[in-house]
């Protein structure tokens, strides 16, 4: 079975939006606004969501906050089967308890990152960590996706040997990897190693332009230009160029690279939230949760000018 066939067989294919999470003035999740964002993306044809992943500032939220938000969006019409829920903790008991509670709300897919720990740990310890999660969660029919963070924070990537052992021991539960690494070779190595066993989804959009066509991706940029990402993973560049008055015609892969150039070295979550705040005309979308910070005024003004030049189109 190829990676594409596996993606279809487990129902994990297409664009999974790495959802930005709106905040109230007190920095709690703005649940109505989150539901509205998901409903709006759904109405554009994008109904698969990663909640509290990398773009969703997952590590900044407590489990109870996540569960409350999940309950709210399900109540607002989002299908629980279309949610991949981020889990960040270094306590396997806490992770297992969270999975049990979320399963009770109908969630079946979980994106679990490696534990953060000051001391070095070996493959046996890492295997035992996930093995305990699966045993203590003790739920039927749920799916574990490992979140490879690619050195974006202190959490380690899981070595291939550990993932191979996990797949061997829990073939029905461990079904996929979401690779956040910016180096395309990292994703290619995972695809080579697990092509016939696990779904591997890249979540670094410039890599998608290289890996295209691919059956599935997780994308933060899809918050603002979901159709572009859809065309990128479908390798459908010719028929879906963006025509901007007075400017050249840009193909979807060009648009991804243009936006990545605009975002540059700015913190991506804050920068994308600023962009979304322009789309919704709602400054409150700019809020981020500490330790993230909103952009300083000078950076904000520069980015706003760059967004104007980028000129996001309604059909993107």
């Amino acid at each position: 079975m190829t990676n594409e066939n596996i993606a279809s067989s487990i129902g994990f294919h297409g664009v999974w939006v790495d959802v930005l999470v709106p905040l109230q003035a007190d920095l709690n999740v703005d649940e109505p606004k989150l539901a509205s964002h998901l409903r709006t993306l759904s109405s554009k044809g994008f109904e698969n969501f990663v909640l509290f992943g990398q773009a969703g500032e997952g590590t900044s939220f407590a489990n109870d906050e996540k569960l409350s938000a999940v309950a709210h969006v399900i109540e607002a019409g989002v299908d629980a089967n279309n949610i991949l829920l981020g889990v960040n903790s270094s306590s396997y008991t806490e992770v297992a308890q969270f999975i049990r509670k979320a399963c009770a709300k109908g969630i079946k897919r979980f994106l679990v990152s490696a534990p953060q720990y000051d001391h070095p740990y070996n493959n046996v310890g890492l295997f035992d960590y996930y093995d305990q999660i699966i045993k203590q969660a003790s739920q039927p029919n749920w799916q574990l996706f490992i979140h490879q963070l690619g050195g974006k924070n202190q959490a380690a990537d899981l070595p291939e040997a550990v993932m191979a052992d996990l797949k061997k021991n829990h073939p029905r539960i461990f079904v996929g990897i979401v690779d956040q690494d910016v180096h395309v070779n990292h994703t290619v190595e995972l695809l080579r190693a697990f092509d016939t066993a696990l779904v591997v989804a890249s979540s670094h959009e410039p890599n998608l332009t290289i890996l295209s066509p691919t059956d599935v991706c997780v994308s933060a940029l899809a918050n603002v230009m979901p159709n572009v990402i859809k065309h990128v993973i479908a390798n459908d560049f010719v028929n879906n160029a963006t025509k901007i008055a007075g400017m050249k015609v840009a193909k979807p892969d060009d648009r991804v690279n243009e936006l990545m150039a605009v975002l540059g070295n700015y913190p991506q979550v804050a920068a994308l939230k600023l962009m979304l705040s322009q789309h919704y005309r709602m400054e409150s979308w700019e809020r981020v949760r500490p330790p993230h910070t909103t952009l300083p005024k000078e950076s904000r003004d520069k980015l706003l000018a760059a967004f104007k030049t980028f000129n996001l189109q309604a059909n993107e």
Binding site: P32, S36, R39, T40, S42, S43, K44, E47, A76, G77, V78, D79, H279, Y280, R281, A314, N315
Partner: protein, 68 residues
């Protein structure tokens, strides 16, 4: 997701509109910008009002700037 009986705020011909799903699907693709979807007319209408008030505020600010 079921969109029957839901409401949208859209921008068309430089104007904001609140429009039912059943009416939106009849519009020509590309003739409008979809801003947000809401479960109720009330929510969509409140968002519509907010956007109009913002546009008025922006226009006032521009006029004030020109007067200076």
């Amino acid at each position: 997701m079921n969109f029957a009986n839901t409401w949208y705020v859209i921008e068309r011909n430089n104007h904001y509109e609140t429009i039912a799903h059943e009416a939106l699907v009849l519009l020509e693709e590309g003739s409008y910008v979809l801003l947000q979807n809401f479960q109720t007319h009330h929510e969509a209408h409140e968002e519509h009002k907010r956007l109009v008030l913002m546009a008025i505020g922006d226009a006032k600010a521009k006029l004030d700037h020109l007067k200076k």
